[in-house]
């Protein structure tokens, strides 16, 4: 069953068309990697799905509910505020530069949304946070502040923060790009572990070996279009597409 369906989505920034008719579906339990050159629209696509940007036209459904829809008359309409608020929580997003709240402890970074948004009682929220921190290999960092952590540790906290809301899908936008090379491994290991637990994920990445290793499916985007879509073997080893070949030859 598809958790996310994206259908004929278009998005422009003033005169620049960044997404030109994007369609795909993300299946439950699937790990989908999105690769492509800089400026091809990968981040914008994730941002449209997580409602940080609004599409110009097209349909996006999440967990069976429609976030935005373009009807036969070509009128594009977003769901009402409450529906949007409800369904956007089904998708978590891990940012390239973490965006942890610097004035909150690690614990509070993870409990704040649970308590404020889901109205989870404090003890329960803290239990959930402690479990997640253990899972991320950071059980002793609950009382630390983000500035006291390495980039890799901060990114693991931000993954825990996203997971605390129990999203149906977790999206990553280049989760290792802001990290020193020796720290990328720990993040990739965490994502890989989530994959073995059948967490549904969409990962925008420049780490080709990693994309190949963890994904069930790979989408190659270029210039606002999905140029190719298929299994990692099909895309990385057996592609017939010239643009894909040219892109992959750089790695």
């Amino acid at each position: 069953m598809a958790v996310i369906t994206v259908d004929h989505v278009r998005k422009s920034f003033s005169s620049l068309e960044v997404l030109k008719d994007i369609s795909f579906a993300l299946e439950t339990g699937e790990v989908l990697s999105i690769i492509g050159p800089s400026g091809s629209g990968k981040s914008t696509l994730l941002r449209c799905i997580t409602n940080l940007e609004q599409v110009d036209s097209g349909t996006i459904s999440i967990g069976g509910d429609t976030l935005v829809h373009t009807d036969d008359q070509g009128i594009t309409q977003y769901a009402d505020k409450h529906t949007v608020a409800r369904i956007r929580l089904r998708v978590g997003l891990v940012f390239q530069n973490f965006n942890l709240f610097p004035h909150f402890s690690v614990m509070r970074n993870i409990t704040e949304a649970q308590m404020h948004v889901l109205k989870t009682p404090k003890d329960e929220a803290q239990d959930i946070a402690s479990d997640l921190l253990r899972k991320m290999g950071l059980p002793e960092k609950a009382d630390a502040y983000p500035f006291q952590l390495s980039g890799g540790q901060q990114q693991r906290v931000s993954i825990a923060r996203a997971l605390a809301l129990k999203p149906q899908v977790l999206c990553f936008d280049e989760p290792t790009s802001a990290l020193d090379p020796e720290l990328t491994g720990e993040i990739l290991a965490v994502i890989k572990k989530l994959a073995t637990e059948h967490m549904t994920m969409m990962v925008v990445t420049h780490e080709m070996a990693f994309a190949r290793d963890i994904s069930n499916r790979v989408i190659f985007m270029d210039d606002g279009l999905i140029v190719e879509e298929g299994t990692p073997e099909a895309v990385f080893s057996n592609t017939k597409n010239e643009r894909t070949k040219r892109f992959l030859s750089r790695f």
């Binding site: 940080l52 608020a85 965006n99 949304a113 404020h116 948004v117 931000s158 996203a162």
Partner: protein, 211 residues
């Protein structure tokens, strides 16, 4: 000497009332002004910008006189002197605070708002729990400067005849043909500002637990 000190303490009390009442009104008013200045509506933001330019571009003493005398010419009745001082100071300081708040708010990385949004925080919660706490930390040094200036600006209230510390000291100096009272007033101001500085240091140190 004892009587002089009593008089000066009374004057100090008036100065302190001006000081605290100005802060009480201008600190929140500044936030409203900052919000207006950052408004997407062009008309609102340019009106508010005009107000800020006037407040910062003309002397406080002139604004004070204007606030005190304008109602007299317009409505034929004047405000109580002390009230006029508080109004003039509050709207003047709100303009300065607004610009400090605005700088602070705009310095918060966009990513903080995006993280809050993705986590489902309401706009209000984002403002009160994510933005403002970080703004407060960033603007403390600038606010400290402004508040110290306010302590000294209270002396301007004498322009419209409010008997604050400096006025009392001047009167006493004239009466006794001595500059001593003025010198003592200087010490009073210095002590008040030492307390202000110390308080800001304390707050800054308290907020030092994160970066």
């Amino acid at each position: 000497m004892g009587k002089l000190l009593m008089l000066m303490l009374e004057g100090t009390f008036t100065s302190l009332r001006i000081f605290f009442l100005t802060l009480l009104f201008s600190l929140p008013l500044g936030l409203v002004v900052a919000k207006g200045r950052m408004s997407r509506h062009r008309i609102i933001s340019s009106l508010v910008n005009g107000y800020i330019m006037i407040m910062r571009g003309t002397p406080l003493i002139l604004q004070l006189i204007f606030v005190y005398f304008a109602p007299y010419y317009i409505f034929g009745s004047s405000t109580d002197r002390f009230t006029a001082v508080i109004i003039a100071y509050a709207i003047n300081y709100a303009a300065y605070f607004a610009e400090i708040y605005r700088g602070g708010i705009q310095s918060i990385p966009q990513g903080q708002l995006e993280a809050a949004s993705v986590l489902g925080f309401t706009k209000v919660h984002t403002f009160t729990h994510v933005i403002m706490p970080q703004v407060v930390k960033r603007i403390m040094p600038a606010m400290g400067n402004e508040v110290i200036t306010l302590v000294k600006d209270t002396a301007l209230a004498q322009t419209i005849g409010v008997a604050e510390l400096f006025r009392v000291a001047q009167n006493a100096a004239a009466r006794e043909f001595s500059t001593m009272p003025i010198f003592i007033a200087g010490i009073f101001y210095f002590v008040m500002n030492a307390i202000v500085s110390k308080s800001f240091d304390l707050i800054e140190r308290k907020l030092d637990y994160y970066r």
